[in-house]
C-alpha cells in the first residue's frame, strides 16, 4: 500500500528514530548537570535555549513531537476501525428508515463546527491529552463512516458484486470477500489524508490549553507561550514553528507518495 513499507525505508526510519532517541537521552543527561537559567538564548548547552522558568526548549520540543506522533498513532487507527464498523453496519443492514436517519444525522454533524463542539466537550470532561484523543476520535468517526458507506454503496453497483449475488453467495461473504477489499485501498488513503486535520485540531486544543498540561509540553502550548515573548525571546516559538512545518511537510510527502502509488496501481 505504501512505500513506507519498503524494507529500506523502514530501516532508514528505524535507524533515524533510534539515533534521535540516543541524542535526546545524552542531551537530557547533559542538561540535568547544568543549572538552568531562565530566558537563555540558544547555546551549546541548551540548543534551543530555555524558557521563562528555565526549562530546556529542545527537550520540550522533542516531547511535543512525541505527543503529536502518539496522538496520530492512536487517533488514526481508532477512526479507521470505528468508521469502518459503523459504515459497514449501515450499509449491511439496508433498512431505508435507519439509513435515511443515519445519513441525515451525519450530514448534519459534518456541517457543524466540529472544533467548537469538541472544545465544548473537552471543557465538560476536563483538559488533558487523553481526553483530547478520545474527543478527536468521537468527532471524526461520523465523517469517516459516511465515506465507508458511500464507497460500499458504490461498490454494490459493480458488475462483479451483482454477479456474486446472482450466484447465491451470502451477504456476509460478499461484504467480507468483495466489498471490503474493494473499498480498502481508497479508505486507507482517505484515513491517511486526514493526518493534517488531526494534527491541526490537536494543535488547536493545545493552543487553547485543553490538551497536555504543564509541566509537559505540546506544540500548541509552546506556540501560545511563545506569543507573549514573540520579540523578546524568539527561540521560545521559532523552533516549535520549524518542527511543526517539518512535521506537516513530512505528512504531506507521505500522503502524496501514497496517492501517487494508488494512482499508479489504478491507472497503470
Amino acid at each position: 500500500m505504501c512505500s513506507l513499507y519498503d524494507k529500506s525505508r523502514l530501516k532508514y526510519f528505524t535507524g533515524l528514530s533510534l539515533l534521535l532517541v540516543a541524542i535526546v537521552l545524552i542531551y537530557k543527561y547533559e542538561v540535568s548537570l547544568n543549572n538552568n537559567v531562565m530566558f537563555l538564548p540558544p547555546t551549546w548547552h541548551h540548543w534551543f535555549g530555555t524558557d521563562v522558568i528555565g526549562n530546556d526548549v529542545f527537550l520540550k520540543a522533542i516531547y511535543a513531537l512525541f505527543v503529536a506522533v502518539v496522538t496520530i498513532a492512536i487517533v488514526l487507527p481508532a477512526i479507521y476501525i470505528g468508521g469502518l464498523i459503523v459504515g459497514i453496519l449501515v450499509s449491511y443492514f439496508d433498512n431505508p428508515k435507519l439509513r435515511e436517519f443515519f445519513l441525515n444525522l451525519v450530514h448534519y454533524w459534518v456541517t457543524l463546527p466540529v472544533l467548537l463542539i469538541a472544545v465544548f466537550l473537552l471543557i465538560l470532561v476536563g483538559a488533558g491529552q487523553g481526553n483530547v484523543i478520545g474527543i478527536l476520535i468521537f468527532v471524526l468517526i461520523p465523517s469517516h463512516s459516511l465515506y465507508v458507506y458511500n464507497q460500499m454503496e458504490e461498490a454494490k453497483k459493480q458488475d462483479f458484486v451483482i454477479a456474486k449475488r446472482s450466484y447465491g453467495f451470502s451477504k456476509g461473504y460478499i461484504f467480507s470477500h468483495h466489498l471490503f477489499p474493494y473499498v480498502k485501498n481508497s479508505f486507507n488513503t482517505y484515513t491517511l489524508s486526514r493526518m493534517p486535520e488531526i494534527l491541526m485540531m490537536d494543535l488547536a486544543f493545545n493552543f487553547l490549553g485543553l490538551g497536555v498540561q504543564p509541566p509537559h509540553s505540546s506544540f500548541g502550548r509552546m506556540l501560545f507561550d511563545g506569543l507573549s515573548f514573540m520579540f523578546s525571546a524568539w527561540w521560545m516559538w521559532v523552533f516549535a514553528v520549524i518542527l511543526v512545518i517539518l512535521l506537516f511537510v513530512l505528512i504531506n510527502s507521505i500522503v502524496m507518495s501514497i496517492l501517487k502509488k494508488e494512482e499508479e496501481v489504478r491507472y497503470g
Binding site: N104, Y108, P113, V114, V119, L227
Partner: protein, 295 residues
C-alpha cells in the same frame, strides 16, 4: 419545495432542536459533577438566581437554562460582567472584517491558480510541487507574518493586522478551491456530456457558457459551507496572534478564564449560524442543480 428538500430541512431542524436540548445539560453536569471550579458554581448559582441549589430540582435548572438559551439570554460573563450575547455579537462584527474578505480572496485566487494550473503544464508542475505550503497550519503562518511585519518595521497593530490575518486565514481555502476547480475542469473537459453537446452542434464556448459555468458555481457553493466552518472554527489561530478582538480571540480568553456563559454562547451561536447557513446553501443548491431534484 420538493420532497427531498422538505425531508432535509425537517431533519436539520430536528437535529438542531436536539442540539439545543442537549446543550443545557452541560452546565448541569459542570455544576453537579464538580467539573468546574467552585468559583463558577457560585457565580452560576447567582446568575440563575438559584440561591438554594440543593433544594432545586434538576428539571427546574434544566428548563431555566433551556429557556435562557432559546431567548438568547446566555447570562453574563463571569470574568467581565458583560452579557455573553453582547460579547459574542461584538466579536462577530470584528471577525466579519476578516472572514468576508478571506472568502472572497480565497475564491478569486483559488480560481485564478486553478485555471492557470489547468492551462499550462509548467504551471501545473509548479503547483504540484508547491502544494505543501498550503498544508502549513495558519497559526504558523500568522506567527511568521507577525514577526516579518515587525522585522520590516510595519506597525502590525494598525489596520495591516486585518490584511495579514485575512491572508493567513485564506491559505488553506485557496488550496481546496484550486484543487477542486482543477478536478472539475478536468472532468468536464473529458466528459461525455461535452462530447454529446458538441455532437448536437453546440460550440465549446456555448457549452461552457450554458452548462459548465453553472456546475462550477454549484461546486463553489458546496465549498462555501465547509469554508465557513473551517474559518469560524480556526479563527482564533489568526485573531490571537494579531490581537484582533473578534470571536476567536474572545473565545480563547473565555476558555482561559473558564468563562462558561461566554463559551456556551459562542458554541450555540456557531452551531445555529452554521446550521442556518447550511440550510440556505442546500436550498440554493437544490434550486440550481437539476441533478439533485430529478433523482
Amino acid at each position: 419545495m420538493n420532497e427531498r428538500m422538505q425531508k432535509r430541512v425537517i431533519y436539520r431542524i430536528v437535529f438542531l432542536a436536539l442540539t439545543v436540548l442537549v446543550i443545557p445539560l452541560v452546565p448541569i453536569v459542570i455544576i453537579f459533577a464538580g467539573v468546574s471550579s467552585p468559583e463558577y458554581v457560585i457565580k452560576g448559582t447567582l446568575n440563575m438566581d438559584l440561591s438554594q441549589m440543593q433544594a432545586v430540582s434538576y428539571w427546574k435548572i434544566y428548563s431555566s437554562f433551556l429557556r435562557n438559551i432559546i431567548c438568547f439570554d446566555w447570562g453574563t460573563s463571569t470574568a467581565s460582567g458583560q452579557s455573553a450575547l453582547s460579547i459574542v455579537s461584538s466579536g462577530m462584527l470584528e471577525s466579519l472584517k476578516i472572514i468576508i474578505p478571506s472568502i472572497i480572496i480565497s475564491y478569486i485566487i483559488g480560481t485564478l491558480i486553478g485555471i492557470w494550473a489547468e492551462k499550462s503544464k509548467k504551471a501545473n508542475s509548479i503547483w504540484n510541487k508547491s502544494q505543501f505550503i498550503f498544508y502549513i497550519p495558519m497559526i504558523v503562518i500568522s506567527y511568521l507574518m507577525l514577526y516579518f511585519l515587525s522585522f520590516v518595521g510595519v506597525d502590525f497593530l494598525s489596520n495591516v493586522k486585518y490584511v495579514a490575518a485575512m491572508i493567513a486565514l485564506s491559505v488553506y481555502p485557496v488550496y481546496v478551491i484550486t484543487n477542486a476547480l482543477k478536478k472539475t475542469l478536468q472532468e468536464l473537459g473529458s466528459s461525455d456530456f461535452l462530447v454529446f453537446h458538441m455532437a448536437l452542434g453546440f460550440s465549446t464556448d456555448e457549452i461552457w457558457e450554458k452548462f459548465c459555468y453553472k456546475f462550477i458555481v454549484i461546486d463553489y457553493l458546496s465549498f462555501f459551507e465547509n469554508m465557513l466552518i473551517f474559518m469560524i472554527g480556526f479563527l482564533f489561530f489568526v485573531e490571537t496572534p494579531f490581537g484582533i478582538h473578534g470571536m476567536g480571540y474572545k473565545f480563547v480568553i473565555a476558555i482561559q478564564r473558564f468563562d462558561y456563559p461566554v463559551i456556551i454562547g459562542f458554541c450555540i451561536f456557531g452551531i445555529t449560524l452554521l446550521s442556518i447557513v447550511g440550510l440556505i446553501v442546500e436550498a440554493i443548491k437544490l434550486k440550481l442543480d437539476p441533478r439533485l431534484t430529478s433523482v
